[in-house]
């Protein structure tokens, strides 16, 4: 296995992009990543693109080829593959790119993610996202995606005494960070009162506990570490990349408040990097709902089970805390174009490790990403360092 580095990153602004199409979103992110790496498109050997539901959101399948075509990369007929694991599609694309380079099959690979969610109405979006869980035995009996995470929250609050205010503090912290991220969908601070006054979506979760519907794309360029200096003075090394699976339905889990796939992927990543949670300086976790961030912090081993609410209340997960979580604003404030999220997390870590995260910079040499598909049926973790 070869050592692999990230040598270029590119992000579109996240938000409701009425004037931008699905394909143009990806092309913008890809072009920025190439620009960042000072590279020509002709140098790219392969593309992996994470996308959850082009078929539902823009009625488009065959996304690998579409992206290669409009990125101007069909001239050399390089392979281009769309990968899908619901909200973890981006993380999966990154891991595919990593294994492709690490194994020596290809040298320069672009891993991207894209989702265009606002071309359909709210009810259709809700229904498409419910496909991340078990359509037959969850969706069809009336479970919405927020409803499933709400049932995790009910179980968690009952067992660990988490308060509604502590849950709100996750959203408040992420909006504080997002307000300092020029690419974020919601660059606006909020208060605990704002969260508690927002509309109930699925008890106990309110609107401001939920990540929004977002258009956006992200791309990163990977190459062998030994080649990285040809493209950048600040390569970021991939120390680990891991993936784990679990039951598709929440009701089949061993423990509703623990994502066993997060535990497994986290342990594998720490083992591969020969590190422990104490070595991690910052982490981008999958906060599709506020409760998901708390579960992630615990399941990755940053604190004991049931303690993440207190950790958040004490400011330890904020900028300047002992383990800054979601410095990008997370899915909550930066936005959640589902297929792009796992790549955006990597972009944030790279920006931070290069010292380019103006206004929200943390002091870290090692960062971690955690990307979840569904309610925890797929988890991808990556550890990056300089």
């Amino acid at each position: 296995m070869r050592e692999v580095a990230v040598v270029g990153i590119g992000l579109t602004e996240f938000g409701e992009k009425w004037d931008t199409s699905f394909r143009n979103l990806f092309v913008e992110a890809g072009a920025k990543a190439l620009e960042d790496a000072g590279m020509s498109g002709d140098q790219i050997d392969e593309i992996f693109v994470g996308n959850m539901s082009g078929g539902r959101f823009v009625l488009q399948e065959h996304i690998g080829a579409l992206i290669a075509d409009f990125a101007g990369l069909t001239k050399n007929h390089i392979p281009s593959t769309r990968v899908e694991a619901a909200c973890a599609s981006g993380g999966l694309a990154f891991r595919q790119a990593y294994t492709t380079v690490a194994s020596g099959i290809q040298d320069i690979v672009i891993a991207g993610g894209v989702e265009k969610m606002t071309d359909v109405g709210g009810s259709e979006t809700t229904d498409a996202l419910a496909g991340a869980a078990d359509r037959e035995w969850e969706g069809l009996v009336g479970a919405t995606f927020p409803g499933l995470y709400a049932m995790i929250a009910t179980d968690y609050m009952n067992r660990y005494g988490l308060t509604r205010e502590q849950l709100a503090m996750v959203a408040v912290k992420n909006h504080y960070n997002g307000a300092r991220n020029p690419m974020a969908q919601y660059r606006k601070e909020i208060t605990v009162e704002d969260v508690l006054r927002s509309t109930l979506v699925a008890d106990p979760l309110r609107l401001l506990d939920c990540s929004p519907v977002t258009d956006g794309a992200a791309a990163v360029i990977l190459c062998p570490l030994e080649m990285a200096r040809e493209f950048t003075d600040t390569p970021v090394k991939i120390l680990a990349s891991s993936q784990a699976s679990d039951t598709i339905a929440l009701h089949d889990r061993r423990d509703f408040s623990t994502l066993d796939a997060t535990v497994a992927a986290g342990r594998r990543a720490f083992k591969q990097a020969s590190l422990t949670p104490k070595d991690i300086g910052m982490v981008e976790v999958h906060d599709c709902f506020t409760i998901a961030e708390l579960c992630a912090i615990e399941d990755l081993g940053f604190c004991a089970k049931g303690q993440a609410g207190k950790l958040t209340e004490d400011g330890q997960t904020a900028l300047g805390g002992s383990i800054p979580v979601n410095t990008s604003g997370g899915l909550k404030s930066c936005g959640h174009p589902v297929g792009a999220t796992g790549i955006k997390q990597v972009c944030e870590i790279v920006e931070q490790l290069r010292g380019e995260a103006v206004g929200r910079q943390v002091d870290a040499e090692i960062g971690m990403t955690h990307n979840v598909g569904g309610t925890g049926a797929t988890v991808v973790c990556n550890i990056l360092g300089v």
């Binding site: 009996v141 409803g147 979506v201 699925a202």
Partner: protein, 129 residues
């Protein structure tokens, strides 16, 4: 969704018919054709559940897809059946009434009606026991 897709699982949806593994004794609802513990060594047979269970966790769904508009808000729960497996289902009760540990029993109910003149889907919901 297509009519055959509803029809195919109607015995499971209407009568809470699931499956069990005779090798290890585990029950499955929704039914599985392969035991995750015993895999090919398992012997899967059909079984019908008693329909009695306990609420393990719940939510009140206040925003749902348009198929569920007329029912919203509705309590949704993960119910542990007495046979030891868990399933997701709606509970017919007041939102403030549902709680963890609540004993429930199954009933046959309409799940959704697809617009005017569309398919009416029936299945299992639960009521307080």
């Amino acid at each position: 969704m297509s009519v055959p897709r509803y029809w195919r699982k109607q015995l499971n949806r209407y009568n809470l018919k699931g499956s069990k593994c005779e090798t290890c004794g585990r029950h499955f609802f929704p039914p599985r054709g392969l035991c995750p513990e015993c895999r090919r060594d398992g012997k899967i047979v059909d079984c019908e559940f008693s329909g009695n269970g306990t609420v393990r966790t719940f939510s009140i769904i206040r925003t749902a897809s348009s198929d569920y508009d007329i029912q919203t808000p509705y309590p949704l729960a993960i119910i542990e059946l007495d046979e030891g497996t868990c399933m997701t289902a709606q509970v017919i009760c007041e939102p403030e009434e549902i709680h963890i540990g609540m004993k429930v029993k199954r009933v046959f109910r309409r799940i959704i009606a697809e617009g005017n003149g569309g398919v009416i889907v029936y299945g299992t919901k639960f009521v307080p026991a």
